[in-house]
């Protein structure tokens, strides 16, 4: 198999969640000395493809989860190669569910999509206070902060968190999302971006930070 064929097959294996095949193809690509950046791009392309189908309701949460699992296993093969090549994650993202909200499925999907796009992700979990977001964003030098909420009753907490992050003077861009969140609500509370689903968050991150 030629290098480009291997990488195309890797992308397809990731997209369709075939983890054993993806890992085998990744090993083959590494053994063949494919450029690390190209291998990384092949992984990201697979996640982007499943993300696109997810946004269009052609793929669903099980398909995204199996793709993310295939990506994670393949990334474990690739990681030492990336370290040797001095390739670091493109951005650092801090993510959490806002205070008062214990839901994590949407947040976890976003974290997977970011990881699949070569972002370093710091997951703060659920029920995260504004102070914890500020501290983590500062400690990890976050480029982007993701705030998630499932309940209408925790939308005020999202607003308080955005306000606190602004007051703290952090440079990171803030993206919000979750079942009750709309783009107009995101604008009203002063967030930089809004993502209607986990796939959209990668596109929104790129829009906010095109240099990445």
């Amino acid at each position: 198999m030629r290098g480009t064929d291997t990488l195309d097959a890797l992308t397809a294996a990731i997209e369709h969640g075939r983890r054993d095949e993806a890992v085998a193809l990744m090993r083959a690509a590494v053994a063949a000395g494919e450029p690390p950046r190209k291998m990384l791009d092949a992984l990201a392309a697979g996640m982007a493809d499943v993300g696109r189908r997810f946004s269009n309701e052609q793929a669903f949460i099980p398909e995204v989860l199996t793709a993310a699992r295939a990506m994670k296993r393949s990334m474990a093969v690739l990681e030492p190669v990336l370290v040797d090549a001095g390739i670091r994650p493109e951005f650092t993202a801090v993510i959490g569910t806002v205070q008062g909200d214990l839901h994590d499925i949407g947040k976890n999907l976003v974290a997977m999509m970011w990881k699949g796009s070569n972002y370093a992700v710091v997951d703060l979990g659920t029920n995260v206070s504004p102070e914890t977001f500020i501290e983590a964003a500062g400690d990890y030098g976050a480029d982007v902060i993701g705030l998630s909420s499932l309940m209408t009753t925790t939308l005020p907490a999202m607003q308080r968190t955005v306000r606190a992050l602004r007051c703290a003077g952090l440079k990171a861009r803030i993206i919000v999302g979750g079942a009750p969140v709309t783009s107009s609500f995101a604008r009203r509370i002063g967030a930089d971006g809004y993502a209607k689903d986990a796939a959209a968050v990668v596109r929104e991150t790129r829009r906010l930070m095109p240099a990445g």
Partner: protein, 391 residues
């Protein structure tokens, strides 16, 4: 007309005195939050319907006898226990074997931390024995007395029977990520679990129908959608679930039960045609959400085959009297046509002011209820407004 006649006439698009006036009860925080706004302290979820002047508050606030009292879930349940307590946040093993984190200051959906159902062995050991439809503990002790009431053709209230769940409960017991992987990693096991759930529903309903019970609706619970659509692909839904829904709904129809409703929050659009294909013909509670579900649009799309309950956005309730009146009026033609029982699209949350909910109940009775029993509502509205003003 009595409650039963009104329910059946509505679902059959037949003439009736007025629409049924139901709601979907309240979050635990809501009624306490309304007390400082004028709600009397003795009003709870069980009796709220009378204070608001509604026929029934589904899920614990309906008049006696509307549900069979049959337990179609895990029987017996797991022993509940607090595993860790950090004050406001605590960790609990629930009756369904799921380990969750809850917050005392907020009664929202809890976060799942761990599951007892993780593989074939735990399914066989802990769940299969709890899903036996023949377990006598599922059935009320006063069975014979209930059977007489259930078979009475002149009963004044509808009877709703449990049709269990083919996917939703399994998703709860395993967690979304685990069940999603099971669909791909061990489809035979996934199908075996779904089949067990179908057999449970068929066994329980079969025993009920054998008594000659006149069941007016069978209720299923799935909650298998979120804001973006289904949690399971429509292809998998059609392959694993639709044939089993069909077996359950065929049994219901054979015994004269025309309505099978499914309780599913979230964006259900992609699944409606598949539920209809499986014979599940009533959607509940039509959560409007940011995705804009709309009973009028669904009627235009699916015609009279699709029955509906719900569809009144809780955000409209929070928005105020003008928005409430507009939505009540917008839905009125569909209510008049039948096949639709309007009610809030989920339990009413505490960010809805009491005055808004009183206004909603008043408007519902005035328009959908054709003016039934308006005076008590008006008096309560004024009393609540006065009480709030005094504060």
């Amino acid at each position: 007309m009595n409650h039963r006649q009104r329910f059946l006439a509505t679902m059959r698009y037949q003439p009736r005195d007025r629409a049924p006036l139901y709601d979907f009860s309240f979050w635990d925080e809501t009624l306490p939050a309304w007390q400082p706004q004028g709600l009397p302290a003795h009003i709870n979820r069980a009796n709220a319907r009378t204070w608001f002047g509604l026929d029934a508050s589904l899920g614990g606030g309906e008049p006696p006898g509307w549900y069979t009292g049959i337990d179609a879930g895990l029987c017996p349940g797991f022993e509940q226990a607090i595993l860790e307590d950090d004050g406001d946040v605590y960790t609990e093993r629930q009756g369904d074997g799921v380990i969750v984190r809850r917050q005392r200051s907020s009664v929202s959906i809890p976060m799942h931390l761990g599951h007892t159902l993780v593989d074939r062995a735990s399914w066989r050991e802990h769940y299969l024995p709890r899903l036996d439809p023949d377990n006598p503990a599922r059935y009320p002790a006063d069975w014979d007395q209930r059977v007489r009431s259930w078979a009475d053709p002149d009963r004044d209230h509808p009877l709703f029977a449990p049709g269990s769940s083919l996917f939703g409960r399994l998703r709860d017991w395993m967690g979304l990520e685990n069940i999603a992987m099971a669909v791909y990693d061990d489809p035979a096991w996934f199908e075996q679990m779904v089949e067990t759930m179908a057999e449970l529903a068929l066994g329980v309903l079969g025993r009920l129908f054998e008594t000659g019970a006149r069941v007016d609706a069978v209720t299923m619970w799935e909650d298998m959608c979120y804001s973006g659509g289904p949690l399971l692909s429509p292809a998998h839904f059609r392959k694993y679930l639709v044939p089993r829904y069909r077996r359950i709904t065929d049994l219901c129809r054979k015994h004269g039960c025309e309505v099978v409703w499914v309780d599913c929050d979230g964006k259900i659009d992609a699944l409606i045609p598949l539920w209809l294909e499986g014979g599940v013909n009533c959607m509940f509670p039509i959560e409007v959400g940011i995705w804009g579900a709309d009973p009028l649009r669904y009627r235009a799309e699916y015609g009279r085959e699709l029955l509906m309950m719900g569809g009144f956005s809780k955000r409209t309730l929070a928005a105020g009297p003008e928005a409430i009146d507009a939505e009540v009026a917008r839905l009125a033609p569909l209510v008049e046509e039948g096949g639709f029982i309007p009610m809030p699209d989920h339990r009413v949350p505490p960010d809805v002011p009491l005055a808004h909910y009183i206004h909603y109940a008043h408007a519902a009775r005035a328009v959908w209820g054709r003016g039934v029993n308006l005076e008590p509502m008006a008096a309560r509205q004024h009393a609540a407004a006065d009480a709030a003003a005094d504060r």
